[in-house]
Each structure stands twice: as C-alpha cells, then as structure tokens.
C-alpha cells in the first residue's frame, strides 16, 4: 500500500493537468477561430481554420475524457453507459417522431447534475464517440459541444440551479447559448454549414443577406440549441424532482454541493439497548478497532 500511495498522488496531478490542458486547448481553439477571424475565403478556402478546428477540438475533448475517467468512482462509471444509451435512444426517438429538437443530451445533463462536471464531460464526449460508431461518424467532430454541455450541467447543479424548478430552464438557456457558440465553428469550418437539410436552409437564409459563414452558423445554432436545452433541462428537472430524495442523495456530489437544497440534519443514530447480548462490546467502533476476536475457533450455538 505504501508503495501505491505516491503514484496515486502523481496520477491525480497528471489528471488535473490533462483536464487543464484540454480546457485551454478548447478555449484557445474557439478564440482563434472566432476572434482570429481567419482570412476567410482568401484562397477560396479557410486556410488553417478547418485544420485548427478539427485538431484543437478533438485533442481537447480527448484530453478531458482521459483526465476525467480516472477521477470517477465506480458507481459513476457504471452510470455513464446507461446515460449514453438514454442520450442515443431518446435522440433517435425524437428524430423518428419528428420533433424539431435534438433531445440527445438528457443523460449527459442528468449525470452532470448528479455526479458533477467531470462525469458530465465524460458522458458527453463518449456519447458522440458512440453516436459516431453506431449511427453516423458526423457526430464525432461535435464531441466538444457535448463535453461543454456536460460541464455546464455539472456547474449548474453545483450553483444550485436545480434547487428550484424554474431555475433549471434558465440554466438550460445559458447552456444552449454556449453550446451554439462552441459548435458553430465546427459547422462552419468543417461542414461548410451543411449539417442537415433544415439547418442548411437557415444558414442559406443568413448567407443570402450577406453574413459570413461563421456568423450564419452561429445564428442558426442560436435558433435551435437554446430551445433544445431549455426543454431538455426542464425534462431533467422534472425527472429529478420525481425521484425519491434517497436516490438523489446517494451521489456524493449531490450531498457535497446541496444540489437539491439542504437536507435536514439528522441526529446520530441510536441503538436499541438490549442486555445480555455479546457482553459490553457494543458500540465499539470498527474504525481503527483491530481487536476482533482471534480465538479462531467456530462457536456454533445449539
């Protein structure tokens, strides 16, 4: 055990560094693509913008996923596959019954709120990886958006946005705006605005009145993402409020940050007093108590 102590500490530092670098890479990529305003179309193409978009966002997402997975307890790890399956199945269902919204991040937001931003980020990243593996590889470049949504849901929970029913849609609105901003360079520089029929038509309309491609995909995103996230966050808060509080409070993150408000403080449990049972050894705490009986012989009773 003593030998495994230092590596564990070292790994913690390593994971933090990976997450920090990942976040910096994503933010730098976004700022370069938006503020740098690459000499768009100078050569009939974007110059390095597409390259920076795909490498920066993918690298950042991978670093965050790798850094977070080691931090998560097994209960959370076991929760993530189910959450991803909820994302994918409900997302497909929403498309198949013709809803105009995506509804593909319910699981990500649930995990973010219950288990924190790191868990939300991992769920988001792997949702797009698996969406890419099972339905369409086009989801892969958008992994960074899902990471951001998971992180934002986690911080929304931490800041108490799930304590009141009406606060969750507000958190959804903010998350939706950020998601639109983050994903618009991907839509513009990697897909040329052509991420789907309906979206393409909206982008065309903004282009027709003279906007740049990035501005057009941003406006298009702002028309769909905030609405989607307001509805998704509302669905999530309804589900969470319907759950018995003992389910919700099983998550250490929920307890630590009072995600659903203060739980009433309970007194220390008291034991029923019986006499003649196992002598007076009762109430000896196990922590640090190694005085277990060592006679080694079974004592079957009649």
């Amino acid at each position: 055990m003593s030998t495994s102590h230092t590596p564990v500490e070292a790994n913690k530092v390593r994971n933090r560094v990976l997450i920090a670098i990942g976040a910096v890479v994503i933010i730098a990529t976004y700022l370069y693509l938006v503020l740098g305003q690459p000499s768009e179309f100078a050569e009939g193409d974007f110059g390095q913008a597409s390259l920076i978009a795909i490498i920066g966002y993918l690298l950042g997402s991978v670093l965050i996923a790798v850094g977070t997975i080691h931090r998560l307890p097994t209960t959370t790890i076991a929760l993530v596959p189910v959450a991803i399956a909820v994302n994918i199945v409900v997302g497909q269902l929403s498309a198949s019954i013709g809803l105009p919204i995506y509804l593909d991040s319910i699981g990500t937001i649930l995990v973010g709120v219950l288990a924190g931003p790191a868990a939300g980020a991992l769920t988001g990243a792997l949702t797009n990886v698996i969406w890419g593996m099972t339905i369409s590889p086009i989801a892969l470049p958008f992994a960074v958006t899902a990471v951001v949504i998971g992180v934002m849901a986690g911080y929304a929970g931490r800041l108490g946005m799930f304590r009141r029913f009406y606060l969750a849609p507000i958190a959804g609105l903010i998350t939706g705006i950020v998601a639109a901003l983050v994903s618009s360079p991907i839509a513009a520089f990697i897909f040329g605005g052509a991420t789907g029929g309906g979206n393409g038509a909206i982008v065309a309309a903004f282009r027709a009145v003279g906007n740049s491609l990035l501005a057009s995909t941003t406006f298009q995103g702002l028309l769909s993402d905030p609405l989607d996230k307001v509805i998704t966050f509302t669905i999530v808060v309804i589900i969470l409020f319907a759950l018995p509080s003992r389910f919700r409070s099983r998550f250490p993150f929920v307890r630590e940050y009072n995600v659903f408000g203060k739980q009433s403080e309970l007194a220390a449990p008291t034991r029923a007093t019986r006499t003649g049972e196992a002598g007076d050894a009762a109430a000896a705490s196990t922590s640090g108590d190694d005085s277990a009986s060592t006679d080694g012989t079974p004592t079957p009773k009649g």
Partner: protein, 259 residues
C-alpha cells in the same frame, strides 16, 4: 448483439491490428484537413479508402451507408455554397438573391471532399473492426480499462434500451399518448417515455457497480488481458510512419506550404 456497423468477415483489412486502422484513419483525416487540396482528398478516397472497402468485402455496405449519411450533406453543401456565396465574384447565373459563383462551387468542392474523406474513412474503420478487439487493443496500448468498459458496455445496452423504449412507446400510445400537435406538446409526450428508462438506470447501476468492485474493477494491480490481439512489427512501423506523415503535413500546412 451489438449496434455497431461492424461486418464480420475474413479479409486482410479485417486482420489488421485495430489500432493500426484507427491510427490510419486519424492520420488520413488530419492529412486531408492539413493539405486542403480537393484532389488530394478525393485521391485518397478513390485510391485508398474505397479499394480498402472493396478488398475487405464491405464495399456494398460502404456505398449504401454513404448514400444515406454522406449524400444528403453533400447536396445541401452544394446548394448552400453554390447558390449563396456572397464573397464570390465570378457569377455564372443569378436567381433573385441566389447567385451561382465559381468560388462558391470550388469552396463546396474543397469542403465536400474533406467531409467525404472524414466520413468514408471512419466508415471503413467501423465496418472492418470488431469493437471488442478495438477496445482490447487500445487497452493494451495504455487506454484506461474504465474507458473500454464504458464504451463496450454502452454498445451492448443500446439494443436493450431501444427495445425497452419501443415497448414503452407502444404502451403509452395504447393509453392515448398523441405524437401530434405543436412541438412543445410533443416534447411533453417524451417525458413519460424517458422517466421509466431513467428510473431503471438508478436501480441497476448501484448493484452493478458493487458487483464490478467485488471483481476488482478498481484494483491497483496491473491489468492483464485475456484476449491477445496480434500486432506484428511491420504494423508498428507503419503506424509511426503514418503519424510522422500526419505531423509533417500539419507543420507544412501551418508554414503555409500548401497555399
């Protein structure tokens, strides 16, 4: 019972180490985005990606999947950039606010060839690579077993979830759920579908994590692997070469060589 696109066949491409295929896919995507010359991207598709699919016996699947996944995007791209490209100066035709420009069409060609390379390359990897072996070989190369667990487990529970979602949907429809009306009402209709799925996730997950812990899931011991994926030296060298070419293309691109 997996949901991936994998096609179980015997071929030289199938037999490649999954990590080799993954590195090849990522390298090709990076090269295509770094070089930014449309005929390079199309050349890679025509002379590398498509032949690989044909050799592996997945050419038919690749064709049908491209028609489904890629063609719609390319059509939208050509319409969007071909008709609405305000920066274009060489006008070929004009329809009210829409102007067909040479620059717009060239732009669509540049972007379209890269999207085609990205999508087709990923599809060939998925069609020819057993996801279980991909996870095993990535774990051998140092990926966390937890990552492998999450991805493998998700791939296998999706079909069960789809079945459950379908049966819940049918049950709700039988009880009068309407999937018509305005979007907000339809979104409301999703709620009774999602709640049972989520409740299920709470009840099972804790038990499953206990069982996994009891089987040493977070043991500090060095993980060993039951399945061994062959990884010949030739492929190791090929991977490093691919990575070197990809890095070189990025460096050259940033230096402005391809302009």
């Amino acid at each position: 019972m997996t949901t991936t696109l994998y096609e179980d066949r015997e071929s030289a491409i199938h037999r490649l180490n999954p990590v080799t295929k993954l590195v090849a896919m990522l390298s090709i995507i990076i090269i295509v985005f770094a070089v930014q010359i449309w005929w390079v991207a199309l050349g890679i598709v025509v002379f590398i990606v498509v032949p690989a699919a044909v050799v592996s016996g997945t050419g038919g699947r690749l064709l049908s999947l491209s028609l489904k996944l890629l063609l719609p995007i390319l059509i939208v791209l050509v319409l969007l950039q071909g008709l609405f490209f305000p920066e274009g100066t060489t006008v070929l035709a004009e329809f009210g606010p829409a102007r067909v420009t040479v620059e717009g069409l060239m732009f669509a060609l540049g972007i379209g060839s890269r999207i085609a390379a990205l999508v087709l390359c990923s599809l060939v990897l998925l069609l020819t690579t057993n996801p279980a072996l991909l996870m095993t070989s990535l774990t051998e190369k140092g990926m966390s077993p937890k990552m492998s667990y999450v991805i493998s487990s998700t791939l296998q529970i999706i079909p069960a979830f789809q079945t459950r979602a379908q049966s819940i949907l049918l049950a709700q429809q039988a009880r009068g759920l309407r999937l018509k009306g305005n979007p907000l009402r339809r979104a409301g209709a999703i709620l009774p579908l999602v709640s049972p799925l989520v409740l299920g996730m709470f009840t099972d997950v804790e038990e499953r994590s206990t069982a996994m812990e009891a089987r040493g899931f977070s043991s500090p011991a060095t993980h060993t692997s039951f399945v061994v994926v062959p990884d010949p030296v030739g492929q190791k060298i090929a991977r490093w070469l691919l990575i070197a070419v990809a890095v070189a293309s990025v460096v050259l691109s940033l230096l402005g060589v391809f302009k």
